[in-house]
Subunit: 407 residues, 3 copies
């Protein structure tokens, strides 16, 4: 370990420095334009909501492991600030090559936050198993691939800008799963990848933050935000109720399980994300929230028993059922609602359905393929894989004044 460790020490700061120099160099050519002023003035509170939600909410939401609290919140902050700068750089390059219209740096940052959610979701799948070098390499790779995926969706499949951003949960979850499948599985007897009541409470704190700010997230870039806000709110409310309902029904003795509540309460927000803008009947939003929550809890049982063991996938914080399955359901719901709405207009219906299904499949398959490749690269000796026995340990990364490590 010690030689690996020295390598780790050598590489992390230089890697960060390299990225930062890159961002600084590029920002040299950037001047604050005034085109973004009006966007900012009306949207600053919502921008702040999403900023708050991503930094604070996800940071504490991922704090489920008993010995990994410092890394969960600390690395989340680092990954997000790196990723947001990286995302602004990518968008800037796309503008220079005239692949995209100029939008002003403020809107870029807002979009960067939403795109970063994909990376955060993916880190949830490999939580505690990657070292920081691997996380830092993964961040720009995933962001760029997500940009490519969005670009394909927008250019060839005529998906709108907001909708293409909402594929973020789908992309993040399947990319993360593909990456984690390349990592060696921790021993099932390992104690460190469990939660304690204390870590569960901090995670609940993060979950409630995400829950409260999710309507702002789903409607940040939409012109007419009223419907999106309301539909998201209703879907979240129903999914929180369903989470309790199904948690009691499916677990032993009818007790609630905290992880069910954490993941299923948010499922409604993920499920509704594709359609929040267009649904005009609140009951549809509520039904989607219910189904999203149901698929999350049923998925958590099925996946952990049937799918993950044979495929040797270890999904630390359950992103597959928390974000992946509800997003798949949301995609299906979008197509079904489209068919119902455009039923009379049968000429273009088939084409539209094909486009949506295409965008959907393209996102998943690109996420899976690039995820496998990334996972494979991350597992090369170059990036200093951490031994399975050192998984889920804050002490590997942080100085502790004492030896007290569990919190």
């Amino acid at each position: 370990m010690s030689s690996n460790y020295l390598n780790f020490r050598n590489s992390v700061p230089w890697l960060i420095l390299l990225l930062e120099v890159l961002f600084l160099t590029r920002s040299y050519f950037l001047v604050l334009e005034h085109d973004g002023v009006y966007w900012l003035y009306s949207s600053y509170p919502d921008f702040q909501d999403v900023n708050h939600m991503v930094i604070f909410g996800f940071g504490f939401f991922l704090m489920v492991l008993r010995r990994y609290g410092f890394s969960s919140t600390g690395f989340n902050l680092l990954i997000i600030v790196l990723g947001v700068q990286c995302s602004v750089l990518v968008e800037d390059l796309l503008v220079s090559f005239s692949l995209e219209a100029k939008e002003g740096i403020l809107k870029s940052i807002a979009k960067a936050f939403i795109s970063m959610t994909a990376v955060i979701i993916s880190t949830g799948a490999v939580l505690g198993k990657t070292n920081l070098v691997q996380l830092i390499v993964m961040t720009p790779v995933e962001l760029i691939v997500f940009y490519v995926s969005r670009w394909i969706n927008r250019r060839y499949l005529e998906i709108g800008d907001h909708l293409s951003l909402m594929h973020v949960h789908l992309f993040g979850a399947y990319f993360g799963l593909a990456v984690t499948s390349c990592f060696p599985e921790p021993s099932p007897r390992l104690d460190k990848n469990r939660s304690t009541p204390k870590s569960d409470l901090f995670s609940m704190l993060g979950c409630v933050f995400l829950w409260v700010f999710w309507p702002s997230f789903n409607s940040l870039l939409i012109q007419s935000r009223m419907k999106a806000l309301l539909n998201t709110y209703l879907a979240l409310a129903v999914s929180a109720v369903t989470a309790f309902l199904l948690s009691a029904l499916t677990s032993k003795d009818g007790k609630f399980r905290m992880t069910h509540i954490h993941s299923a309460a948010l499922a409604g927000g993920v499920t509704i994300s594709f359609t929040a803008e267009t649904i005009s009947h609140p009951w549809i939003a509520m039904i989607l929230g219910l189904l999203g929550s149901a698929i999350t809890i049923l998925g958590s049982h099925c996946l952990q028993r049937c799918l993950n063991p044979p495929l040797k996938i270890h999904d630390t914080s359950g992103v597959h059922f928390t974000f992946g399955l509800p997003a798949v359901l949301g995609g299906l719901a979008q197509v079904v609602l489209l068919v119902i709405r455009e039923w009379t207009n049968s000429s273009s219906l088939g084409y539209l359905v094909l486009l949506h299904i295409g965008a959907f499949c393209q996102t998943i398959s690109l996420a899976l393929i690039t995820g496998f490749i990334t996972g494979f690269i991350l597992n090369t000796r170059l990036l200093k894989i951490i031994p399975v026995s050192k998984y889920f340990e804050d002490q590997f990364y942080w100085e502790f004044p004492h030896l007290a490590v569990e919190f």
Copy 2:
């Protein structure tokens, strides 16, 4: 216990399902109107503040018991999302019977949040003593009774819409007290209904949230919000100062007591709630904050020693002195200020005073009467009373991976 437990398992999910089906059925007849658009656009940040405050603030504020943290935050979320849907349904039915004007679903949700505060306050009084079935039954019952109380106040006593909503603290506290008086008292030697430094810190976190967002709460539905915001802010500031002052004066050795700070810091916000809109001299708001805080701390000493033991009332998180007494004081202050303001206009003065006192007494007496009835119903065998020895236990409701239960 085991047979009770199986009953509990059988009934909770079906009860939730029943309610949810009801809400879904009704929402089928609902279309998103556009009348609420303008209200939302200007008020969304404040709506978000109140949402944040109720879900997050109260969830952590109630986390005072050492072994009841999961239930405090989790059940708070469940009760609120159920209650908000229920409240929207009730308002909708009132509109169908032409008892109320149509207002748009957005404003309904905002009002629902404020109404739900009554239920949350009541759950504070029975915290840890009710099982979830009892809580879920209590929620719609209390909401409907609060609607009836508000309707009487508005219809027969000419109280405005905003003012009738502000009776929420009064109603919640006395309803909760009446309910809790029907429950058997826990043994005074019981250790579980104490707090630990850790649970106190989480509770402080919730308290600070409530403190910061209280001005938004008190002014959410007011047209000219400037005065209400400012008066609430001043009252809160003075009551926080007074909380420290009186806590040191009244407790042994001049040390501060955390529960005093928790409850008395918020007392100013409760006391000013009836009059925030109308006070034009800041010193009146400040004096009200001071008196509210004083009555809370003195009340906490008197009630716990003199009133509660003979009446056999066990008020877990002290809602009587945290919300009840300051609200009574606020009601009195409202009448006194009215008398001073309308002194010259002696013709209508008596009538106005009578109306306000009537509304006040009607709210308290309806809360007490229906609270007793509800408490009586909740204690029937049908709803599976939990034995006193199982009070204040997360383990009764939640699965724990290990046996570590104290947090």
Copy 3:
């Protein structure tokens, strides 16, 4: 101790009462004007952000000591509410003596929050070493001196209102350092002034809050806020990245140190505070964030080894390197940027540079001189110095139901 203790009991409440009576008396002459209405309406969400950040963020940010959590959050709340009222009173008196223009109470409160940051920073330096009487005496003294310093800057050195407020970090840090140098040093073997993983996590929670809301803080009083928001955001992002980079480079084994992350992540916001409004090239903001973070981490190593031991300064939560050094850097950056911008206009350049350097030196020297005097006064027997062995103890101030004190 016991006799001291009784004195303590006797004096704290009366001191608070005295101050509160003063505030109430003055508020008697205050009427809610309407000039502030428009300011409030557009700025309420930002006012709320800063309120939230100061009360909640600093309260938890300062919770680094293992046995001082109740006092950190509780006393922070008390000091702020006292200070805000005191600050409004001072501004009011200045208006009566026609030294300042009338502005409306709402803007006064907003400015009071920003001024209070100086006091909060100073309390960070003496955290755990002062009793509450000393803190309460220090609050109005420091506030008034800061007012005097700002008044000199505005009147004689032609510094704008916003810019003079931004000297708050500089003033707070050096005032706190001068005060703490008068207190006896705790024994280096003392265990109580260390952090635990748990207190570090709560402190991280506060740090993330401060990080998220810092752009609102830096731009609260600025007319054209777009640039200030964006520059602050970029500086914060870069400083968070640099914090990780340098923490790994400078600490043993390349591990991260939590205190580095806490302080250096915020350094960018402090450094940029003087110039956020005027920088038009984002790369300058980013470089400033990088330098601010670097000076914080290097400073934390140098100061703790070289400067503090010979000078016998014990700076509990490291305000010198967290707020002092980045603010000095920010001041220098302001002058350098001014020189570059006004290079062509050589006639007034020298004069402008002199004014800025003068304001800068005046603030530091006034802070140091009055800080020493205040520290000297606080250490007289009259104010009941607490013995070194009782430093950093919640139990000295708070009632605990049990003897469990570490959290």
